[in-house]
Amino acid sequence: MDYAGLVQACARGDRQALRKLYDEEAARLIAVAQRIVRRREIAEEVVQDAFIQIWQKSATFDASIGSARAWIYTIVRHRALNVIRDGAREDLLETDELAAIQDRTAVVDDAFGRLATESRLRTCLEAIDRDKRQSLLLSYVAGYSHGEIAGLMRVPIGTAKSWVRRALIALKDCMA
């Protein structure tokens, strides 16, 4: 799949190219958004807005800060993060706290567990202390802020920040 070619075709006004990206990625992008916003119908709205942005921003896609596929996922993640930061995660406050924690942990464990056994990312994540790894995954996969990580892990916010940083450094060094 030539993602960069399709994004460039969008920039030339080719709607078929947008449709091809949609057919290829929409289901997975909804699942990615749902890991962050939790509710399926909101995840679909996120992907709807994201595809309109992909169309509008296609001319600004810049391969020097990542592949076209990563660019598409970044747009969806940003949109999902904006939605929960605007909506302040009402669900999480309303639901039973223990159930919410279990749900978030399950989402993160599922993503981690699905990495291929031969994946270098998996090997490197496994080498990181569990708390630090969990902080990193809560942030990327579930869209948690430093404050939310601290709340869920029951540590001061400074500790949560430091865990994420150390995990980032360990990961980069391991994968270098």
Partner: protein
């Protein structure tokens, strides 16, 4: 930060926090400003994005509802920001030029002297152009000139090579009157100087908008610009 050996890590951590979405608005804006001018930072961000993408690719989702694509198409049709400039001007005709419009007009005026005079030397027109338009792309680079010859004929002189896919064509538009909306002046069959004859219109006037868009082969199916803008500019009176 004072320890030089820590700096690569600091930058990598920043790139990581940026990709994770952990920065607040101010930090993110600051980081993005640096990103624009720092290739090393861009490389680090690219590496973090590719690294974490693998986690996204583990997600498995059910097929989207059928209405989702429909809503996206409607959204695209409604908002296609880079393609509806002329239509937007038609509906907001009373609104003065946007800041960007102002700067593009300014840039057009500043390159006008150079370009217009060289055209006058290169090809003597069958009558001096009444007005000259320098069409700029969204990077404010000149891509083409339009000379208005009378109330229906224009000459289009491309200044750069424009990549046109085989199933597309370049179409030239003008906005003689916001109430009428954009009018097609014709198709550019090739990227070279071309004389076009459009419908008889009011005599072109200074500040009249001209635009080239990329349209499906055969021209826009709707009679209005639908594709991305290749270049646009406002008519100016040449000093001949």
């Amino acid at each position: 930060m004072t320890n030089g050996t820590e700096e690569p890590h600091d930058m990598a951590v920043e790139a990581g926090e940026y990709v994770l979405g952990l920065m607040d608005d101010a930090a993110r804006a600051d980081f993005e400003a640096r990103l624009a001018s720092n290739p090393e930072l861009r490389r680090l961000v690219a590496a973090e994005r590719e690294r974490f993408l693998e986690l996204d690719l583990t997600a498995e989702g059910a097929a989207p509802t059928l209405e989702l694509w429909q809503r996206i198409e409607e959204g695209v049709a409604r908002t296609s920001s880079n393609v509806v400039d002329l239509q937007a001007r038609r509906t907001h005709s009373a609104v003065p030029l946007s800041r960007r419009g102002f700067w593009q007009g300014f840039a057009a005026a500043s390159v006008l002297g150079v370009v217009a005079s060289s055209v006058a030397y290169m090809r003597a027109p069958p009558g001096a152009p009444r007005l000259v338009v320098v069409l700029l792309n969204d990077q404010a680079q000149p891509v083409s000139i339009v000379e208005t010859l009378d109330d229906k004929r224009i000459r289009v002189v491309p200044l750069v090579n424009i990549d046109v896919p085989s199933d597309r064509t370049l179409q030239v538009w003008t906005l003689p009157d916001p109430a009428t909306g954009p009018v097609s002046m014709g198709l550019l069959e090739a990227v070279r100087a071309t004389l076009l004859e459009g419908p008889v219109l009011p005599t072109p006037r200074p500040d009249q908008l001209y635009e080239i868009t990329l349209e499906p082969a055969g021209g826009s199916p709707t009679g209005r610009p639908t594709g991305p803008i290749i270049g646009k500019g406002y008519a100016r009176t040449p000093r001949i």
